[in-house]
């Protein structure tokens, strides 16, 4: 990679970019990520949490590159052996360069389709099916945006002579695109770097969110993690992305970091109520922004969607202070937690909440049901999913992390499902909380 520019970063010190990557970053659609905050209104709780999807995207590219370079350096023989016989992988050394470029581009662009206020606004993405039980996700918008705005830049890649051209499909096939025509090859074998429980996205956001919130729980030994990623052949000869046995402790600390960040930041009681207010405020202002049905435009209307960012929505919120939730956001007058159940809710809790729903039916209130939220968004609500990380033992055997670590075993819980009641400040009652 011919380095064109170095950008300062809070985690890696410097992130190096070549000319093509600079062209992507300078594109107005990528610049939009400067106007989408990583953690929405988390700064209402942690004032430092004002970082954006822009710096995270650069960071994921750097982290993915470190992981990739380590794999190629240490497990090149495994890869070479695996790819033996793929017709267009004629020169492995050149293929390494090509695959690095594809992985960097996928990492850089993975979040380009995020909605205003990141995940908080995703509840207002339109349904993708007639049954109305499945909404579009930001990945759908990322793929649509990459194809619409970045195809030409991606396909101008200068891959080494003798390698097949890099296509936009090479990039989107790593990001969940279902139509994987031509998918395969070295970069595709390493898809878990981009999408999995050990991916560069997770490795970056835990550190970055931790630094910006000031909550140290998200930190782990980054260099140990990078130097522990491993590759081996699994049952039937398939490549398996794993962690070397020497990295058992860092794998544990990654899972624990995630558990702590979820409980202390992403699902903190104040953050949760702001996620609710954001959605309600969006419902108030999206019609003013010509969004039909108070939902975001679908990925098929990508131009229309991309004009929306935190700035446009905040501007609309600021000019619509007659809107109840807009006003709440501006003045930090969020509903207060009145009562929170145990996890999972006891029968007594459920009885209480049935009573609350009847009592507050016609009054302002919000009942937070994490179980329901989990069912609606499967991606982020469990600290660790079974078999998410495999440990490559010294003997060459693969063992699931949860079998090597009692700490991790204790974190494979069913998804959290507590209930919470929030009430507007002036309507707070005297019911006692044990939350």
């Amino acid at each position: 990679m011919a380095t064109k520019k170095r950008i300062r970063d809070v985690i890696y010190g410097f992130i190096e970019l070549d000319e093509q990557e600079l062209e992507i970053i300078d594109h107005p659609i990528f610049q939009r990520l400067r106007r989408i905050r990583q953690l929405a209104f988390t700064d209402m709780l942690y004032p430092g949490a004002c970082h954006t999807r822009f710096e995270h995207s650069l960071g994921v590219m750097q982290m993915a590159t470190y992981m990739y370079n380590h794999i190629v350096e240490k497990y090149g023989d495994v890869l070479k052996c695996y790819l033996h016989g793929v017709d267009d992988v004629v020169d492995f050394e050149k293929e390494i360069v090509r695959a690095r470029k594809i992985i960097r581009l996928a990492a850089l662009l993975h979040d380009v389709g995020h909605a205003p206020f990141s995940h908080s606004g995703e509840e207002l993405m339109p349904y993708r099916n007639q049954d109305k039980d499945e909404r579009y996700e930001h990945e759908d918008y990322s793929i649509a945006a990459i194809e619409e705005y970045f195809k030409k830049i991606i396909e101008r890649s200068e891959e080494p002579k003798g390698c097949s051209k890099i296509s936009v499909n090479d990039v989107t096939s790593l990001l969940g695109k279902k139509s994987v025509r031509g998918a395969g090859g070295l970069h595709f074998s390493l898809k878990p770097i981009i999408s999995g429980q050990l991916d560069a996205d997770r490795a970056d956001y835990l550190l970055r969110d931790s630094i910006h919130t000031g909550v140290d729980y998200g930190r782990y030994d980054m260099w140990r993690l990078i130097n522990s990623v491993a590759l081996t052949n699994g049952e039937g000869g398939t490549l398996v992305f794993a962690i070397s046995y020497k990295g058992l402790q860092v794998a544990e600390s990654l899972v624990i970091a995630r558990y702590h960040m979820f409980s202390q930041v992403y699902y903190h009681k104040v953050r949760r109520i702001y996620d609710y207010h954001v959605v309600e405020a969006l419902k108030e202002v999206l019609p003013l922004l010509e969004c039909e049905g108070a939902v975001f435009p679908p990925p098929t209307q990508i131009d229309n969607y991309m004009r929306l960012d935190d700035w446009t929505v905040l501007g609309a919120i600021n000019s619509n202070l007659s809107g109840k939730h807009c006003k709440i956001l501006k003045n930090r007058q969020h509903y207060k937690l009145e009562y929170e159940s145990s996890n999972p809710p006891s029968n007594d809790d459920i009885r209480k909440f049935t009573g609350y729903e009847a009592k507050y039916k016609s009054k302002e209130h919000y009942v937070y049901n994490l179980g329901k939220i989990y069912q609606g968004d499967k991606k982020a609500k469990q600290w660790y999913k079974p078999e998410g990380i495999q440990i490559l033992e010294e003997s060459g055997m693969l063992v699931n992390l949860e079998e090597k670590s009692k700490l991790v075993t204790s974190l494979i819980d069913p998804p959290p499902s507590m209930l919470a009641l929030y009430l507007p400040r002036k309507k707070k009652t005297k019911e006692k909380s044990h939350g």
Binding site: G176, G184, K385, E387, M397
Partner: protein
Amino acid sequence: MDKSQLRSNVVCAVANKISGIGKTGMMKSMYFLQQVYKVPLGYDFDIYNYGPYDEDVLVAVDSAKREKLIDVRPKNYNGFMGYEIVAKGDTISELSVYVDALDEISQNFGKYHAKDWELASTIVYLYMAYHENGWDMEELDENVRRIKPHFALQDIKAERKRLEEIGVLCKAVVI
């Protein structure tokens, strides 16, 4: 029955049908049940070099284990340590509407090893994309080989032919 109950009960039903099934087999049988036999499991499969995968299948396996519907035991599969899923509970009567689908999974794939499950499910996944987009089917086998280069092209072709003959590819693209 809600979605998570359906998922863990279907895990149990498959374990009842295919004795000694491993986790790869369970993952791919869920893929076939959903995509080919239209059982509404609500998974969101993405494609990797090991075939279609959704980590929530393993969550369902874990739930079924907690609910004592199945047992998961370590087992050596030709030198690789894997896990055998053994049914502990009966298949519930509410799943009787899916009995044909479960029978077909068992008949068509019951004797498969992990490697075979991966290949068959990868072919189905790509076939659906090729069919939906009207792409040249001649490219399909080559595309599968790019994703799974440890398979010989003739093995891929043979498996695709078999899937065609038993009607799996045809059913997969029926909406």
